[in-house]
Symmetry: C3
Subunit: 157 residues, 3 copies
C-alpha cells in the first residue's frame, strides 16, 4: 500500500498523543508514508525536558514553564485527577506490555514517520527549535496542506 497519511496533532494530552502515534505506527507498518504535524499543545509532546534558552520574554518563560515538557509529563484529557489518572493509565500499560509514548515516538522515527513542528504555533507559544527533540522538520499550514491533499487518510487529533 502506498497511500499517504497525515495527522495533525493539536492535543498535548497523553491519551490523544498515544492514539496519534499508534495510528501513525500502524500506518507506517502497512507501508504508508506518514506525516505528523504538531501544533499548539501538541508541540509539548516534542519538548525536551531540560533546555535553557536565553533571550525569552518572561511571559514566554512563564507560559513555557506551565506547559508539560515531553512525553513523561503529559496528563490525560479526561480523569487526569491531578496526574493520578495518568499514573493509573501508565500502570495499566506497563502491566499489559503496551509501549510507552516515548517508545511509540522512537518507533515512529525508526519507521521513517515524518515529524513536523508547526512554526506559527512555536512563534505564538514562544518555543524555539532547540527546545524540541532533534531530527524533526519545521513547517507551516501550506506544508501541511500540500501533504494532506496528496494523502488518502487525514486526521485531526
Amino acid at each position: 500500500m502506498a497511500d499517504k497519511t497525515t495527522i495533525i496533532v493539536f492535543s498535548g494530552d497523553l491519551d490523544k498523543a498515544m492514539a496519534s502515534f499508534i495510528i501513525a505506527n500502524g500506518a507506517a507498518a502497512m507501508g504508508s508514508e506518514v506525516t505528523m504535524f504538531f501544533t499548539f499543545w501538541g508541540l509539548n509532546i516534542l519538548r525536551k525536558e531540560n533546555v535553557k534558552v536565553r533571550k525569552k520574554h518572561w511571559m514566554e518563560k512563564l507560559f513555557g514553564a506551565m506547559m508539560p515538557k515531553g512525553p513523561e509529563k503529559l496528563g490525560l484529557s479526561k480523569m487526569n485527577m491531578g496526574g493520578l489518572g495518568g499514573k493509573m493509565m501508565k500502570w495499566a500499560m506497563r502491566r499489559k506490555n503496551v509501549s510507552t509514548l516515548a517508545q511509540l515516538i522512537e518507533m515512529a522515527r525508526e519507521q521513517g514517520v515524518k515529524l513536523v513542528a508547526c512554526t506559527m504555533s512555536m512563534d505564538v507559544l514562544g518555543i524555539q527549535p532547540e527546545e524540541l527533540i532533534d531530527g524533526i522538520d519545521f513547517g507551516g499550514v501550506a506544508a501541511y496542506l500540500g501533504e494532506a491533499y496528496d494523502a488518502k487518510l487525514n486526521l485531526f487529533i
Copy 2:
C-alpha cells in the same frame, strides 16, 4: 452512493458521541458503508450498565467504576457543571424531539453501521467483551486502517 465512511470515536462525551452517531446515521441513510471504531473513552459509550466481571485487578475495577457506563451516564465535553449541563442538553433534545443517544445507537445498528471496539484500549482500560453491548465487533489499529484507506470520509472525534 457507495462511498465508505469511518469514524474513530475517541471521546466518551455525550455531545461528541451524539455528533458521531448523527454523522454515522446520516451517512448510512445516504447508502454509505459506515464503520465506527470506539477507542479509549469512546468505549464507555458501549458499556452495559450492570455487569459483574470476575477476575479483575482492583485497580481496573476502580478505573471502571470511575468511568461512565453507557449512553445515559455520559457528561458533556463543555459546561457539564457536575452533570447539570448534560441534563439541560437532554431536556432541550426532548423538547425539540431530537433522538436520544441510546436511540441514535439503536438506529445505527438497524441501519447496519458496524461498531468496532478497540481491543488494545479494552486491554489497557481493563474492559472485557461481556461488559460491552452485544453484537459489536472487535479489532485493532490494522483493522481500522484497512477500512480507512478504503473509505472516502474518515473522521476522528
Copy 3:
C-alpha cells in the same frame, strides 16, 4: 488546485477555532473550495455579541447566557485559567503579529470560504438565525455529507 475541503467546527475553544480558520484560509489561498460546518459549541464562534431575541424559553436564555458570544469571548481548550490563558495567548499573538480570530474569520469570508451553521444544533441550543453573524448558510448533516464525499480533505475539529 481544485480539491474541496470541509471542516466540522464542533469546538468553541479559541485555540481550536484559530486552528480551524488557519487551515481554512490556507486551503482557500491554495485555490480549494472550503466549507466550514459549525455545530454544537462551534456555533458560539458565529454568535453576535448583542442581540435580544424574544420568545425564548428561560432555559434557553440561561444556556445562551452561559455560552461565550463571538470570537472575543472564547476561552482556551487547555490552560484557560479563568480566561488568563486566553489573554496570554492573545498577548503573544499580538506580539508576533498573528491575526486575531476575528480577523481570520473576516479573511475567510473575503476568500469565499462557506460558513454553514448546523440547524439541528441551533435548535437544541436554542440559538436563532438572527443571533449569528450575517451572510452565513444553514444546513444539516445531509448538506455536510454531500460536501464531504465530494472533498479531498475532511477534518473534525
